[in-house]
Symmetry: none
Subunit: 201 residues, 4 copies
């Protein structure tokens, strides 16, 4: 082999077929909803998308990556997320937490979200990508609202905001993942109350 020539060909993104990319992501999303993450195969995605398998292997490193990308594409439009800021932290947080509870209960979100979590647990790279592309922006928006509350004296000024978010969300997230209890609006409210007491100024 000639020097500088590699056998792991590097594709040229400029020539990438946008039509194929979209078809793959759409097929991936559909299949995860229909079959659940574990039963989706790359062969099935390719067939459904009307795409050669190589086209998928060329542009994505793994099944997880394809499916993750298909979620990313969904939430892409919603850039610049902002949380409500009425000045009343408790009310604002309860609004947001109740919305989160509702989202977790929505069967449209259920399957893909669980799929995502299944994959993230065992794949550090995907976990990093998840934190960077999905969780990160949302957390930034939440922390923005919390900082505003700190300025307003509604939250301890020295509170570690990452920790605040964890106390607020992790119990909810764990209940959902393990199905260890009901996800009700009252539960959402209770988490807000507890968090505000824990991090009161």
């Amino acid at each position: 082999m000639l020097p500088g020539v590699s056998n792991t060909r590097k594709p040229n993104p400029a020539r990438r077929s946008e039509r194929s990319r979209r078809a793959v992501l759409a097929a991936a999303r559909e299949l995860v909803s229909e079959l659940g993450y574990a039963k989706v195969t790359i062969e099935a995605i390719a067939a459904r998308a009307g795409v050669g398998k190589q086209t998928i292997y060329r542009w994505w490193p793994s099944k997880g990556a394809v499916i993750f990308d298909s979620f990313l594409a969904l939430s892409e439009g919603g850039e610049g997320i902002r949380l409500p800021d009425t000045g009343d932290l408790e009310a604002d947080l309860k609004t947001v937490m109740r919305a989160t509870v509702a989202e977790f209960a929505d069967p449209v979100f259920e399957a893909p979200l669980r799929a995502l979590n299944t994959e993230i647990v065992g794949d550090p790279a995907l976990a990093a990508l998840y934190r960077e592309k999905l969780a990160g922006p949302v957390d930034q928006a939440k922390k923005e609202r919390l900082r505003s509350a700190q300025r307003a004296g509604q939250l301890a000024a020295d509170a570690d905001l990452d920790l605040v978010l964890e106390v607020l969300y992790a119990p909810l997230y764990q209940r959902w993942l393990h199905r260890s209890g009901p996800l009700t609006p009252e539960y959402a409210d209770a988490l807000v109350d507890i968090t505000l007491r824990a991090f009161a100024p």
Copy 2:
């Protein structure tokens, strides 16, 4: 179909080979530690255990069930778990939480625990089993300690103990699952401090 008549022959547990059962569970445990959950195959378990594949399929419905059982078998001896009770709730909880942090960091626990969580996310039946057989007894022990603290006036008498446990453990669990932050003894202490403040009498 007539009652009691099934086309999926059901084996007679009385004749089950204890030697095979043990060998399968041991092999499963070893392989999960060595390869991680995703790369363990039933064929490999059977081969390592010196057992026919059919013997596994006869007694377990899925790979997840075998592996779960192999964890169950581990913690079976440790009945009657009790938490330390020195009278000082904060100190006792910090001891326990620091131990949990250490356990999560231990590579011996890492792989199997992640395997378990991977499987639980997508399998409600397994999740129920997990709650009943593994999480349940441990949580009972923890709640016992918390009730003792309530009697001692160190915790709000009307605190929902399930919620207390969630606030205490879920952030830690989430950090570990998502690798979203360092698991340090200080972090363990912080969680105890926050929880005690949130549920102070």
Copy 3:
């Protein structure tokens, strides 16, 4: 293990259950007719006969042996076979050959006969048994008739009777095995004519 004790236990034929023996042979015969030789399994024979598998393995060395035995049992009653001897060799042979043609065409004989031949081709021991127990007696009866014809001057006195039988029967047998041509009464007659011409005095 104690000296003189072997691990290949030798069963005591005196204690053998006649009821089981009969049931096994009957089940074997039925299953060969229904499924053809290749699809019959020892498990199926045992199940149909209401007999433990070990009972079959105890008394027969192989599937072929069981099935062969089941044929033997059939033709056991018909000892002392004699061919017609009207004095007219040609007429007598044509009668017998036409009967053989009819037998080969009878679907009741078809499956078991093919089964037997399948097994015999690849198993010298079974082939020997076949010659001794099934083909032998019949061939003796045929040769008896031919000797009578030799004495009557209808056949060359020095003709090798084994060869005569082969010329008479082998073409028919081969056509049937290979399905290489129609088995008609005329064909039977033609074989007799040819054989008589070839071995004319």
Copy 4:
């Protein structure tokens, strides 16, 4: 189902790998020689050939078909078979028959030939293929020689040549299959003598 639509995907023969085809047939031939037909498995053929199992299942319907094909491939080169024609029918036939006797005795031919016959007995489709592709061409060549003999007045002009071949070969074939007697050059000669007498002009 719509016409032309099938759920059993059919592969495109144009893309078939010649290398794999050859490797499979070679492996099949070797394994039949080494183990005998019954003990050859598709897995073993695939492994020996360095081929995926699916590649075999894609192109052949059964083990029998693979092995049959492996024989076909052997005799493929020898197109346009011609029998010796010195003008002396008896001498020519004895030459050919002695060669056949020798071939049947050759252990290299023994195992595969028995394998082939085992399979043919129970599989009408394979039997037809055998007659068309293997026996047919050879029989044509033989009949050509016999026709030449008819023209030379060495054989009855109205003799049924198929029948002549059967009388000539079937006894030999049956002796070999059933191991019911020795296959000697003298036996070959005897069959020729008998046949010529039976079909003398």
